[in-house]
């Protein structure tokens, strides 16, 4: 997996003051940035904008470290909490079953992701690698449902989950999320870019479809699978609406629901709310840092959540 050319840092003249560039790089950018001044200006602009994205998180950490909720007001006047209290994070776990919420979110998101990648990659193989009568018609049906807005599915899926007896159960949150027309589409597009000569050669050597799928296509489609996995995981980890309507027990609450409940019970204790939300933000951040290049690639492939 190489970095896509489009997002590589653009090469240009060195920035160090007082030194002339050894060779002038061709200017391919829309803004004439070869001059030192404009280079510096753009950089300063990026830093200032960057600060507006970083400072709210700094403030969040500071509040999460504030000992007493009434000191939050002091914090906003002086900028710093009067006393640092790292115990707030532990307090969140004492007040509510935060560990259970964490487990539920990770459990549901992981299973939904694993199942979705399996079902979608198999379906994508059927759509991209096997010629069968009626294939294009079925695929068109898949594509057609992509145009239907999500709100249309909310009510009937609730009724279906209710009818299947999966209401207020892990299965009700995992099973409907295990299939995705969109994921199938994404992986089909990805598998079409894999040269067909590879599996033709394999089939001449006597390999069956399952071997071609598992030993040739899947390894080559790895970047696509990872992209789908990231999106499926993030989507299910942040998912709010489905857990909200499909669960009612406290021990089935996912993080978003747990946070909402925590906020309505302990709302005035902003320090604890910020500690809890900070912890809830950690898994996506870790995921992003580890898999950043795949994620960016995925978005540029057109994998934008609609």
């Amino acid at each position: 997996m190489t970095k896509p050319a489009s997002i590589q840092p653009v090469a240009g003249a060195p920035f160090t003051p007082g030194r002339k560039p050894k060779k002038a790089a061709p200017d391919t950018s829309p803004i004439e940035a070869s001059s030192k001044l404009s280079r510096t200006l753009v950089f300063v602009g990026l830093v200032l904008l960057g600060m507006t994205f970083v400072v709210p998180f700094v403030w969040q950490v500071l509040i999460a470290l504030t000992e007493n909720p009434s000191e939050v007001d002091t914090l906003t006047r002086t900028g710093m909490p009067p006393a640092i209290e790292p115990g707030n994070f532990a307090k969140v776990f004492q007040r509510v079953d935060f560990a259970k919420y964490f487990f539920n979110s990770l459990f549901i998101a992981s299973w939904a992701t694993i199942l979705q990648v399996i079902t979608c990659s198999m379906a994508a193989y059927a759509f991209s690698r096997i010629q069968w009568p009626g294939r294009d018609k079925v695929f068109l049906l898949y594509l057609g449902t992509l145009m239907v807005p999500g709100v249309v599915l909310m009510v009937p899926n609730f009724a279906i989950v209710l009818g299947l007896g999966m209401f207020n159960d892990y299965t009700g949150l995992i099973i409907p999320a295990a299939f995705s027309a969109y994921g199938t589409f994404l992986l089909r597009q990805f598998m079409l870019t894999i040269p067909s000569s590879l599996d033709e050669a394999a089939s001449i050597d006597g390999a069956g479809h399952w071997r071609i799928f598992s030993q040739i296509i899947l390894p080559l489609a790895r970047p696509g699978l990872i992209v789908l996995a990231i999106f499926a995981f993030l989507f299910n980890y942040n998912s709010f609406f489905w857990p909200l309507i499909l669960t009612k027990d406290d021990n089935l609450r996912t993080l978003p629901l747990g946070l909402l409940q925590f906020d309505s019970t302990y709302g005035p204790e902003t320090n604890l709310i910020m500690a809890a939300s900070l912890m809830a933000m950690l898994p996506p951040i870790i995921l992003f840092i580890v898999l950043q290049k795949y994620l960016v690639k995925g978005i540029q492939l057109g994998a934008v959540k609609g």
């Binding site: 280079r39 960057g50 059927a126 009510v155 629901l257 939300s277």
Partner: protein
């Protein structure tokens, strides 16, 4: 290809089946099912295993109710809320394009050695700056033991306040140093990452962060905004009022004139064939943005003098002795408070330090009349919601207070008046909770409350009561009563809540997928186009408008379509988490949720909402295709 078509179909089905079953069950099936549902009166409260009633087919009755019938006022209110919240979409798209252009432009050093050297220099300079900031701002030894005179910091040592301020300044300097150093060392990828971070984390946790940021008191945004407003206020009062009027009107006229000229030029270019529809579209969008800014700021300028002309009267300050006399009369004067007295005394205890004598008296009278049962139901409701808002705050702190010490500490935190503390100290969380469990609304609209309470007092006092309630509400909203420019109460104030959500939406989405799509689009533009433009002597702006913008038109087209589809369905989580649907923030998806999953579980009616939304989305996409493809083909 292996095998006969029939055999291939068999194999393909084996691969496809797991997905196909799910697809039919949870995607295609529901879509068809939903259409059918929308023509029925299905409601879970009426049609369930415990009732014999069967679901009836009602034809287009659901659609009729929503669009023109008894639900239509709600539907259209929420529709317009959704549309107004979508104002953030074009702003966000413009921002994404701006960020992408900045990221794509060359910034900072390019060679690894230069980058590393720059980062090292930044770290050294930053460390020195941190030290310098600390030296300049560090507390004076002379201030040891001196209490701060600043509002809100009165119980702290001035030295401690200074130390906190200095360490905050050092922290911010360090963060800035970090951004500069990592930005130099890593370059574009780093900035792209921090711009993308909010999109990645968008969810309940992020909305809770913004809810805290927007808090009128103790929130970061108003803490930053208020000093600027105070300064602006100073400037306004220091200059002749007339100047602001003239300036404001001049800016408005200038904006309108520019709009007219620009449009005339655009039309001329279009008709003479100098520029195509894409150029014209770009011109329209940019001009509108500019003119809205100009006219808006001009309008604000004309409003500024009003603050000076009509200062609001401050309520008489609270004094303990006067409050004491009121409170001593309490048991004799208001026997009707009866067994609910403890709830009201808790409320009064909370309000007492914050109100003057007359306001307190009014509140007490209202409270007693409430328990006589002589007031209309709506007044009662309004009073209850005011009470329970305060109550919920008390209960939260009291709930966990088991020992006397803990209870005393909770009372400290609430800044409860010492006079009424003994009464409260005897209560426990459970009894308070029980009393207020039925309604826990954190916020209340003042106007309906004032309107309701006006029926309780003589005509002449109605205006005064109204004003006092407003003052009281302003206090509860965390704003100090009085004159001058005050930062908005954001999420609590119906006039500002939508703006707050729009600002947050732009912050959340500006560095997200759209920015990355624009980045990809920018790097796909052939450099020859820019070279040709440069040879023709085009300025930077001309190159943007003649090369970049038309070349990015397909990307923009895609982004606009996806964003409108998303925008029309969005807004539910924000409203539920941040405003609980108050302050005019209910969107169509929220309405659907309310219909289908609360109270009556009207699945049929909710399905009809979904299909009307689908029709709107379909119409908007079709319009975009029709209009947008003309722009793309330019």
């Amino acid at each position: 290809m292996i095998g006969t078509p029939k055999k291939r179909l068999g194999i393909a089905m084996l691969f496809l089946l797991p997905n196909l079953i799910g697809f039919l069950m949870f995607t295609l099936g529901p879509v068809l099912f939903s259409i059918g549902m929308s023509f029925t009166d299905w409601a879970l409260t009426k049609h369930n295993p415990y009732s014999d009633e069967s679901i009836r087919f009602v034809g287009i009755q659901n659609y009729e109710r929503l669009l023109v019938g008894d639900e239509s006022h709600l539907f259209w209110d929420y529709f317009w809320n959704t549309v107004i919240l979508m104002i953030g979409i074009p702003i966000g798209i413009a921002g994404s394009l701006g960020l992408a252009i900045m990221l794509h432009a060359k910034a900072g050093p390019a060679k690894p050695s230069g980058r590393l050297k720059g980062a090292l220099i930044a770290v050294v300079v930053g460390a020195i700056a941190c030290g310098a900031v600390w030296l300049v701002m560090s507390p004076h030894a002379a201030e040891a033991g001196v209490k701060s005179t600043e509002i809100g910091l009165a119980d702290m040592d001035q030295q401690k306040v200074d130390a906190l301020r200095a360490s905050f300044a050092v922290l911010i300097t360090a963060v800035l140093t970090g951004v500069v150093a990592i930005g130099l060392a890593v370059g574009q990828v780093f900035f792209r990452t921090i711009f993308y971070l909010p999109t990645l984390l968008a969810g309940v946790a992020m909305f809770l962060l913004w809810k805290a940021l927007y808090r009128p008191q103790g929130g970061m945004i108003n803490a930053v905004l208020q000093p600027f407003l105070d300064r602006l206020e100073g400037i306004v009062f220091a200059t002749p009022m007339m100047l602001w009027y003239v300036l404001g009107i001049a800016i408005v006229i200038l904006g309108l004139a520019y709009f007219g000229l620009s449009m005339a030029r655009g039309v001329r270019n279009l008709s003479s064939g100098d520029a195509g529809p894409a150029m014209f579209g770009a011109r329209v969008i940019l001009t509108i943005l500019l003119v809205v800014t100009l006219v808006g700021s001009g309008f604000v300028a004309t409003q500024l003098p009003l603050i000076g002309l009509f200062p609001t009267e401050k309520p008489a300050p609270y004094s303990q002795s006067r409050a004491q006399s009121v409170l001593e009369e309490l048991p004799d004067q208001f026997p009707a408070l009866g067994d609910r007295a403890h709830v009201d005394s808790a409320l009064i205890a909370y309000l007492a330090p914050r109100l003057d004598e007359q306001a307190l008296r009014t509140l007490l009278e209202d409270a007693s009349q409430l328990h006589d049962g002589t007031v209309p139901e709506e007044t009662r409701e309004a009073w209850m919601s005011l009470g329970s808002g305060v109550m919920s705050e008390i209960i939260v702190l009291f709930d966990k207070a088991v020992s006397d010490e803990e209870r005393a500490e909770a009372l400290d935190r609430l800044k409860i008046d010492p006079l009424v503390r003994p009464a409260l100290q005897e209560l426990d969380g459970a009894s308070l909770r029980e009393a207020a469990a039925r309604r826990v609304l954190v916020w209340v609209d003042v106007e309906p409350l004032a309107a309701a309470l006006q029926t309780l007092v003589p005509e002449a006092d109605a205006k005064e009561l109204n004003a006092r309630l407003l003052d009281n509400a302003i206090y509860r909203r965390g704003l100090s009563a009085g004159d001058g420019l005050n930062a908005p109460a954001w999420l609590i104030d119906a006039a500002w809540a939508k703006t707050a959500l729009i600002v947050m939406g732009v912050w959340l989405g500006v560095g997200g997928g759209n920015m990355l799509l624009y980045l990809a689009g920018l790097s796909n533009i052939a450099p020859e186009l820019y070279e040709a433009a440069a040879i023709d002597g085009a300025s930077g702006w001309q190159r943007f408008i003649h090369v970049t913008w038309p070349q990015l038109a397909p990307t923009t087209f895609f982004i606009v379509i996806m964003s409108t589809i998303g925008g029309l369905q969005g807004g539910f989580e924000q409203a539920l988490v941040m405003t609980e649907g108050k302050a005019d923030t209910i969107v169509l998806t929220y309405y659907l949720y309310n219909l289908a999953f609360t109270d009556e579980f009207q699945l049929g009616l909710a399905s009809a909402v979904a299909w009307i939304m689908f029709a709107i989305i379909f119409a908007m996409t079709a319009f975009n295709f029709r209009y947008g493809s003309r722009m793309t083909n330019d």
